[in-house]
Amino acid sequence: MTPVSQFLKDARVMAADLRHRKIIRTALGNYEIARDKRKASFQDWQGARQLAAETKWEAVNHLDKHLESFAAKLEARGTKVHWASTAEQAREIVLGIVKDKKASSVIKSKAMTSEEIHLNDALEHAGLKVVESDLGELIVQLRNEAPYHIVFPSMHLTRDEISELFQRELGSAPTNDPEELTMIARRALRKKYLTADIGITGANFAIAETGMISITENEGNARLTAALPKTMISLVGIEKVLPKLEDLALFLPMLATMGTGQALTCYNTMYGGPRQPGETDGPQEWHVVLLDNHRTELLADAEQRDALHCIRCGACLNVCPIFRNVGGHTYGTTYSGPIGSVITPHLRGLQDWKHLSSASSLCGACTETCPVKIDLHHHLLHNRRNAAKGKPSFFEKLTYKIFAMAASRPTLWKTGLALARIGQPIQRLVKGTALDPAKSWTKTRDLPPLAKESFKDWWRNRK
């Protein structure tokens, strides 16, 4: 099935799923209260947004300089830096390290880039046991599902569903108490941390000035992944760059505010190297894999370049009425919600993924909420324009040409309306059936009748 047919199929099911609608509404309702409290505690939230937008502009618009500094500082302290132009190269690099270390087990902390390059599949095909340590990621891994949301992977599940899952997959005792379920996961993962050969992480930010990555998490699983295994690998999208260490003083609280409604996430950790002389723990070897995978193409599109400013907070997903009604899985791709709809055409092909940009009412809630002021909903429009230019639909183009003609000629317009008035009673006869030209409307909604006297008629008759 093509991405667009799959999308339409899934959207049809999910949009009518009232149970799903309620679960998401409740989850996001709690998030909104916390988020708004945090925003209000800033001296000026809009001022913070502007500074964040400017800082990311500096980072991305001088990306070559910052990437060079980042890599140089890392290498100076013994980190091995790899550069991957494609997802395939990134997978090969990781597989190469894994083979070199003769590793059999991998523990992972949350990394959306690893989803993007389908790393888990590749590792499992190579015979490795891969364990997701983030609770939400573990849950969807056990269900053989993709993460539902970039920040809350298991937002769509109830405690009962998670309880059943753990009983089935972990052999745990029946309980649906969230605390007990969390402890079950904690115990199950303990041994994995201590025995894993390789720890794989992502990165929230890459600090150019000091050669560090910054990882944000609540659970502590990334800290353990970066402390215990002998070899550590971190996947870093090239756009994650921030110029200075102290830029984190702004970005960490903004990420926490918009991501989870916290003042600061529980653990924000900067890593600047493998185990250094004098240090008694941490990985002996650290590999940082810098991932391009079409990011340089998005960079080259100056109109949409600010989409690379994204700090992956998920706020745009949370406010998007489309996301809330169809859910994260319907998008059928790693990055969902408004940011996903904007960048997926660049990452995976415009013509195959333009439908995500069309499946929007352009309400602008995403742009309004984005902490780094990405012009999200206008980019959806830009994607539509680029898609139509690249591969116009004959039918749509013709329709709009006729429309343009009628709109430019008042007599044609009047005639069109008159014809529509004649057609109206006929339409009522076939309403809702396959013959109904307005079926996509009338299946669920009533159509208003054409006014007997249009405004223009009234205006004309006034004289």
């Binding site: 609608r21 499946a359 009412s361 809630a365 429309f403 343009a404 669920t444 909604r445």
Partner: protein
Amino acid sequence: MTITLFIPCFVDALFPRAGISMVQVLESLGHKVVCPEGLTCCGQPPFNSGYWDEARPVAAKVLEQLKGAEAVVIGSGSCGAMVKKFYPELFASRPEEETAKKVAARTWEFSDFLVSKLGVTDLGASFPHKVTFHDGCHGLRELGLKKPPRALLGAVKGLELVEMAEAETCCGFGGTFSAKFPMISTAMGEVKCASAKETNAEYIVSNDSSCLMHIQGLLSRQGSPLKTIHLAEVLSQK
């Protein structure tokens, strides 16, 4: 002053009373209103679908008719956004760009014109009902029109305004979106209707008839007694 009133295509065909009310309100304030025959559509449908080349001749024709206007008032937030925000982008680096910018500067959405340009909030209207207001997205976010409609409703005698939780959430119309993705459009509309019902209001008011068309379509199908009405119609009730 002489006000060039741009009545959107769907208001013309489906909700002329909203347009008529606008004329009545503006004339009652002592202004002259003109409605050029050739003003049919702002060109948003092809524009939103990405067919900018097809949208340009329609928009150019609109600019032709508006360029000499003293003041342009548009009877909908989405068409207002099209002229004020998107015409300059549509004609960027083209001969019509300057005209687009000049016209944009002299264009207001109806409620914004009354409150921000004329400084009027009390039109002597009377509408003794409980109402809730739906913020059309283009008006709200492209044009920043949260306050003007509420200021106007606040001055209407007997009117009780109750805000719904999802006032600012998109109703799901979105133009061609409502036909291309009807299941999502419907789900969004259902959320909006449910939120409106929670207020126990008798009417949903908005400054965008296209939103109201979609919301009313759902309410009627649901058999709900909740009614929809355009802001201008409320303001012309005595």
